[in-house]
Symmetry: C2
Subunit: 347 residues, 2 copies
Amino acid sequence: MNVMNKIAAPIGLTVLPQPYLLFLGDTVEPGYAKTAFGLRDWAPEKCLGEFACGATVTTGLPQMTPAEAVARGARALVIGVANGGGVIPQSWLPSLIDALEQGLDIVAGMHARLRDFPELVAVAQRHGRQLIDIRTPPASLPIGTGRKRSGKRLLTVGTDCALGKKYTALALARAFQARGIDADFRATGQTGIMIAGSGLPMDAIVSDFEAGAAEILSPDADPAHWDVIEGQGSLMHPAYAAVSLGLLHGSQPDVVVVCHEPGRTDVLGAPGYVVPTVEEIIELTLMLGRRTNPAIRCGGIAYNSVSLGEAEAAELMARDSARFGLPVADPMRGGAAFDRLVESCLA
Amino acid sequence: MNVMNKIAAPIGLTVLPQPYLLFLGDTVEPGYAKTAFGLRDWAPEKCLGEFACGATVTTGLPQMTPAEAVARGARALVIGVANGGGVIPQSWLPSLIDALEQGLDIVAGMHARLRDFPELVAVAQRHGRQLIDIRTPPASLPIGTGRKRSGKRLLTVGTDCALGKKYTALALARAFQARGIDADFRATGQTGIMIAGSGLPMDAIVSDFEAGAAEILSPDADPAHWDVIEGQGSLMHPAYAAVSLGLLHGSQPDVVVVCHEPGRTDVLGAPGYVVPTVEEIIELTLMLGRRTNPAIRCGGIAYNSVSLGEAEAAELMARDSARFGLPVADPMRGGAAFDRLVESCLA
């Protein structure tokens, strides 16, 4: 069973044409192809193959041209790489134009916007194709109301940015579904939106509409249904807390899972700021989250333990689980600890 | 001494041409002319006169045509009214075109944007004039860094929206200056920006840049200088808390003043949400604000007591001041209670 097959996109969200042909450009640095790797790992049924113009990096998926991909049913070319500046180099344009001419829409989540390339706009118009910039949110978003919605919601939150909130939400949604529970992963960042096929880029939304956007991201649902929502930023990040609080209020989660990277000392991009403790984030999240859901609780903690050996990670998580009185697990490692986290969230 | 003469606009902010001719359109409802009244009351030296096309409402300022205003030195026509839908009716266009042709820029803070009227754009281009939509933030805003800046800062915060955060900040800035203190009012909403002549529309900024925008709004300053910053929304408003938290983090205030309207029971625009207590907002604001300024403190409470009689208001504020252990004053009433609030903020 795959987490992605279940997605039904609520009205007002960015929705992507599928399946995809993954574009790797001229990428030689694997770190820049994280988006393509994420799509391969988390949405394999959406990815027919890969296409490049000089890349040495590969996802291992079949290599094919846009024409071949269209013949197999592809509907969009997804730019699966993010280079340093988030730019679209001129050397990619012939490949992108080929894709449009063969009948594919183009999806990008980079800082550079497809629509700012007149050559692409002209070809897309001529062939009736879409240029979809995921970082550009829908035009009409509502102001939040705070109205209680039906169904259940889980939100991943973090002690910092970039430590596993998206992967934790994906892993939990998949685990819920594996237990026969009706669950959707709700994406809030560009890679998540490509994986899910829909979502809202919460960090690109005007702040007055932040909570309102989060409200439409997880609409009314069956009482037994779970939305598992990808968190953003951190309530204690000096740059991004506005995103985190709007998402928390609008998501009105029943359960939060705190994501943390043991050993990380300094907040990303904010020199001199110490990463808060898990306890601080639990306390703050529950205090603020009660405003829109008085029943909010912490289901457990997800550690990103990639820098630790297996035994060391297991020992740390067992010790911290006893200390917090809550399950601690690394979703990437799975195992019994992760099962306990899943059960705690569903309890 | 007037609060406005002191303003020096930091780089990156919206800056308005001055002085103004106030435009009242065809307004017959005084409530819709609040912007014009605010400008008359708080920036009289910026307002040369008023101009209308059928209005029965008046600010009491001299009535003059755009040509007459230009002859007296006016540089911008400011739309001083906000009707129900925030629209610019067709019936205003001849007056607006006259203003452009006579040499005035046009400033608007409504939902409707001047630039969406091709007639206005064409005339403005022909005459080299600006159409300034205050709700549209500058294009390049930085991500927040959390870096400690020099100088002192005060931020007004609230238990809800629309209960006096702007007027409290204006009154405090004016009182600081009257005591010989070097102080600037920093505007974060459209009326405040018109009054100050510069600022940033914090509710219109993309949430990822919210704290960064607040950082450039109150830049490094002389250690004895005070920025008095207009607050927005409320940390406990289910729609707008993202705006409030980004502004709090980026402002890194040394002092906050909590604004409250006694007797208001329900949060504006959020049925079923009870207005939080002053104590709740003090606790939450200090807890969250410590992240970017560990020395943050509450200087006191500003009541909007417009619905109470003078004796009743005085009695309530004296009683609540004893209860909170902090000065409580209505900036619109002034008096000894307000002096105590000012002294507490400066202590």
